[in-house]
């Protein structure tokens, strides 16, 4: 049945009806939401599931041996299992964090402090989000390890020859993004991982931008860590996932300590539980986890294959339509991109463009996108970024183009 479903094209009209925020207007125009790389809107399915849970099913998890506590725990662990299946992992390899940022901080602090020492090297790429740079910078400063950077070419692809040259016996971990939040580039994470493993290095993949757009198979990639946030996958904020291979997680000390992650505490000594519990101190965001579980089920009902196909059409149409705007320069022109378009428009500042488009109800992002080293690489202080989700339409893109034409008139 699901195979037949996947063959049918996406019914965008029906999908849009399931996202209540798409019905609102902004400055008397219908909302055209094109900042999906920042955060995804929530479908009614997720909103309603969380509301129903909070109304009648809410209780703390993994503590009470009373009925509602047991039921909540069952729902909570069911969500973990669904998230695990979604990325082809085991539930025991899925740690809930506060977001992709905290997931990376957890690995940098826990794994990094234990395994990095002076003379070791950490490899990141020139297209990383600050969240996949700064935690490594901090742990390098603490341990004496060195941060090295895989360069990006003019189209926005990683220079793989240079990566091969940078890799060596000193490399202890490679931390790269699956999809660039600015360029849209989809990196060859399987190759990156295999090459790193060839040198005995661990691999962390930042999947924050990949997870809403494509089928992610962590076993297929073979990475040691994979991180993402719930809110970019149409789930709630304040929740993220750290996938780690079971033996790697087991080798790591706790990151945050407290209740729920211990086996036995005395004032002389404390022993810790196995992963994932070891990394989930305190009461977890219970309702949010239930919401993420529902988001994953929702995405699977829509079908990632269909989402990928439709978003590719949106990207092609977007690039074709916007390329006709006078003065536009695309930042990120790699083949095989996710549905993200970054650009500059003559010498008009991105923030002026964003304010002008906002007047037409069009929400796009302007700025450095938490990737200042990448802005430096392309010699721009900031870009405008339009990022598409499967609920966007060709008409949304036409409205964006129309707004941009007016911007060019007003500012030149």
């Amino acid at each position: 049945m699901s195979v037949i479903m996947e063959k049918e094209a996406l019914d965008v009209k029906k999908i849009r009806a399931g996202f209540p925020e798409l019905l609102r207007s902004v400055n008397a125009y219908p909302l055209v939401y094109l900042d999906n790389a920042a955060t995804g809107l929530k479908p009614s399915a997720v909103i309603e599931r969380m509301r129903a849970f909070d109304m009648l099913e809410y209780a703390t998890v993994r503590r009470g041996s009373y009925k509602i506590g047991e039921e909540a725990t069952e729902q909570f662990e069911l969500a973990r299992a669904d998230v695990a299946r979604f990325i082809n992992a085991n539930p025991g390899e899925v740690v809930f964090t506060s977001g992709a940022t905290q997931s990376i901080n957890l690995v940098a602090s826990s794994w990094g402090r234990k395994f990095l020492k002076e003379g070791d090297e950490v490899l990141v790429s020139a297209m990383e989000h600050h969240a996949n740079i700064v935690p490594w910078q901090m742990v390098c400063a603490e341990t004496g390890a060195k941060l090295r950077v895989i360069p990006v070419d003019d189209t926005g692809e990683l220079v793989m020859d240079e990566y091969a040259r940078l890799l060596g016996p000193r490399t202890k971990i490679v931390a790269v993004t699956h999809v660039s939040n600015v360029l849209g580039t989809v990196n060859p994470v399987r190759d990156i991982t295999a090459m790193a493993h060839g040198e005995g290095a661990r691999v962390l993949i930042d999947g924050a931008q990949a997870i809403p757009h494509m089928k992610v198979d962590v076993r297929g990639i073979d990475c040691d860590f994979y991180v993402f946030s719930s809110h970019k996958l149409y789930g709630p904020t304040g929740l993220g996932v750290l996938y780690g291979k079971a033996d790697v997680l087991e080798s790591m000390p706790p990151y945050v300590t407290g209740g729920d992650m211990i086996e036995r505490v005395t004032f002389e000594k404390t022993t810790f539980r196995k992963a994932p519990a070891r990394f989930e101190a305190g009461t977890p965001p219970v309702t949010q986890v239930i919401g993420l579980g529902e988001a994953v089920r929702y995405i699977q009902r829509v079908g990632l294959g269909r989402i990928e196909e439709y978003e590719r059409e949106l990207l092609e149409y977007g690039e074709r339509t916007l390329s006709a705007i006078p003065g536009i320069r695309f930042i990120g022109t790699a083949p095989g991109k996710a549905s993200i378009i970054s650009f500059t428009l003559g010498d008009i500042h991105p923030h002026d463009i964003v304010t002008a488009l906002d007047h037409h109800g069009v929400a796009v992002r302007g700025g450095h996108h938490c990737a200042q080293p990448l802005m430096d690489r392309f010699g721009v202080p900031a870009t405008v970024r339009a990022s598409f989700a499967f609920y966007n339409t060709f008409a949304d893109i036409a409205t964006l183009a129309e707004g941009l034409r007016e911007v060019v008139e007003v500012f030149s």
Binding site: H349, H351, D352, G367, P381, A382, V410, F411
Partner: protein, 149 residues
Amino acid sequence: MSYKTDLYQQVILDHNKKPRNFHTMEGATHSCEGYNPLCGDRLTVYMKLDPAGVIDDVSFTGSGCAISKSSASMMTSNLKGKTEAQAREMFGSFRKMVTGEAENSDEERLGKLSIFSGVREYPSRVKCATLAWHTMASALDGSGSTTTD
């Protein structure tokens, strides 16, 4: 209302395209680099004060959006001949105006700079409009750099 009538008025667009006093300054007595970490905009303000504390000359360089650039341009045009104390008073009034707290006396003091009053409808752009002013005040304080944080 449209962004063309309430925020990006012709005067502002004109100062953005042709910023006044847009150059470095030899022999400046005060200068400061201002940075808006939110958007990465960077401006340097230069000033020459005479011994009595009157602003003889003021200029700026840097990159920024139309709001921050035109605000810097119009600020420099309006500060020449003012005393240090008057410049600080104008900054106070300007800040009150763009955050929607201005009184009549503030608008009077600001004169032509009142054109930036539309910024109060755009809270996310207040720091753009005040970057040059923050930088100017920090230059008077003797700081080499400042941020809008």
